[in-house]
Amino acid sequence: MDKLLDVKKDFPVLKYHPELAYLDTGATALKPNCVIDKMNEYYNNYGVNVNRGVYQLSYQATLEYEETRTVTAKFLNAKEKEIVFTKGASNGLNMVALGYGRYLLQEGDEIITSELEHHSNVLPWMEIAKENKCILKYVDLDSTGRITVEAFRKVLSPKTKVVALTYVSNVMGYITPIKEIIALAHEVGAIVVVDAAQAVPHMKIDVKALDCDFLAFSAHKMMGPTGFGILYGKYKHLKQMHPIEFGGDMIDIVEKFDAIPKDPPFKFETGTPPVAEAIAFKAAIEYIESIGYENIHAHEQALLAYAREKLKDIPGITIYNPTAETAIITFNINKAHPHDAATIFDEHHVALRAGHHCAQLITKWLECVATLRACIYIYNDYQDIDQFVEAVKEAAAYFEEW
C-alpha cells in the first residue's frame, strides 16, 4: 500500500470522534487547527471591525483581513484587485449572473451550461435567461456523463455570450476540459464563468493560464471557514459588473439623489463582512500549500484506487462514475433507497451524502431519484475505506435479503 499523508492529527473533529470515517468532504471539508486558531486569534486578540476605525486595533484587523486578498491573489495567480470577497461560491456565481449577465445579455443571446452543474451555476442563469429572453443551452454529456470539447463545439455559436460550467462535478468527480473550452468560447467573444468549488480543494488553479473571465469557490470546501468565498474576475469585467447589494463600505460619495461606488473589488463588498472567516481563510490556503497539491493528489488517488479495488467484488451495488479523475465515488445499493442505505452507513460511523447533492439535473440524467456519494480527502486513511467498504457490504447484503 502506498504511503499516505499523516494529517489526521491536525483535525480536532477527528480527535473528538475517533470512530468517524468522514467521507462527506464534498458537502464541507473538516477544518484543521491552524484555521480554527486563526479564527480564535481574531476574536481573542483584535476582534473589531475592519475598514472603519482609525484606531490601532482596527488597523491591525484590517491589515489581517486585507492580507487574505494578497494571499488569495497569489494562490490563484491573479491581481489583488481582481479578488472579490463573497459569502461563498453560490453568492459569487449569483453576483456574475445578476450583476453582469443581466446587463450584458440581449434578447436571443445564448447561454451555455450543463447538466453536471450544481444548482448555483444553473439557476441564476435560468433566471436571467427568462428575464432577458435569452436561450439557455445544455452541452450534451457523453455516455459517461462527461462534458467534452467536441460536444461543447456543437452548442457554441456566434450568439453565445456566456458559458457557465463547473470545473469539477460535485457528483461525478469529472474534470471539465475547461481550458480548451475557454479558448473556444473566446473565439466567438463569449465570457466563461467557472464554478471551481469542487476543484480548488484538489487541484492547483491558475486563472491566468486558464484565461477564465470569472471563477468562484467557497472557503469551507477547502478546509476554510463557512460563510466565506472568493470570486475572481478579470478587472475589465469587474469594472463593468454592477453590485447586487448596496450599503455601507461599498460606496465612495453619497449625495441625496446619487452616489458613486468605490472601485472593484470593494464596490461588491457591503456591510460588515465575516471578518474572522476572511482572516482565517488565508490559514487554509497556507495549510494546503504547506502540504502541496501533488501530495494531496497522490494521497487521494491511492485511497481511491484502494476503495475501487475493494468495491468491485461486492454484488448488488452500482457505481456511476468508475472512471472519475477525482476521488468521488457516486453509487447506489441496488435494492435500497439511498436514505435507507444511509442509516446503515450512519451505524458504521461512516458519514457520506445521500440525496441529489444540489445537482438534480445530473441525478435525473443518471435516472436515479438520489445517489450515495463518498468523497475522499487528505484526512482519510485505509482504515476509513475499510470501514466504508464493510458498511457497503452490510447494506447490500441486508437489502438483498428483503
Binding site: H339, T343, H356, V369
Partner: protein
C-alpha cells in the same frame, strides 16, 4: 445503547413495503402532494371524508422504505376514524416519533412499529411525511407543498 438497523426495519414495515395497502390515487378526492426535496421522498395523499368520517385514504409516490411503508400503515390506521380521532392519532404519532409514548398506545394500531425511529433522528422526516400530508388535508389544505 447501540442501535441496530433491524430495530428500524421490522416485519410490519417490511410487509407494508412489499404489499402496500390502499396504494394508487382516485380521481375526485381531496389531494395533497408533499415532498422532501433534500432526499427525494415524494408522496401524494388523498383523504375522502363523508359525514365527518374518513371513508378512504389513498397514497402514492416514491421514497425510502420508512416513508413509503409509513404512508401505507397510516392509510389503514386512519380509515374509519372521525376527523377528530384522526387528528388526535396524527398528533400521537408525532409524539411517538419524538420518543414519547402516547397515553393510549393501542389507538396507534400498527403505527406503533415506528417506536424506534427516535433512535434514528435523521429518519423522523421520512416517517412523518405522509402523516403531515394527511393532517394538512384534514385542516383543509390541498395541492402542492414542499416539506421543510
Amino acid at each position: 445503547m447501540q442501535n441496530h438497523i433491524s430495530d428500524l426495519y421490522n416485519q410490519v414495515i417490511n410487509e407494508h413495503r412489499k404489499y402496500p395497502r390502499n396504494k394508487g390515487l382516485i380521481e375526485g378526492y381531496k389531494t395533497l402532494h408533499l415532498k422532501n426535496p433534500s432526499c427525494g421522498d415524494d408522496v401524494t395523499i388523498q383523504v375522502n371524508v363523508k359525514d365527518n368520517v374518513i371513508v378512504d385514504v389513498r397514497h402514492d409516490g416514491t421514497g425510502c422504505v420508512i416513508c413509503c411503508s409509513s404512508a401505507s400503515v397510516m392509510s389503514e390506521v386512519l380509515m374509519g376514524k372521525t376527523v377528530e380521532e384522526a387528528n388526535e392519532i396524527i398528533d400521537d404519532f408525532y409524539e411517538l416519533i419524538k420518543g414519547n409514548m402516547p397515553e393510549d398506545e393501542d389507538r396507534l394500531e400498527d403505527a406503533i412499529v415506528y417506536v424506534n425511529i427516535h433512535n434514528f433522528p435523521p429518519r423522523a422526516k421520512c416517517a412523518t411525511l405522509a402523516w403531515r400530508a394527511a393532517g394538512a388535508l384534514l385542516l383543509g389544505d390541498e395541492g402542492e407543498q414542499e416539506d421543510e
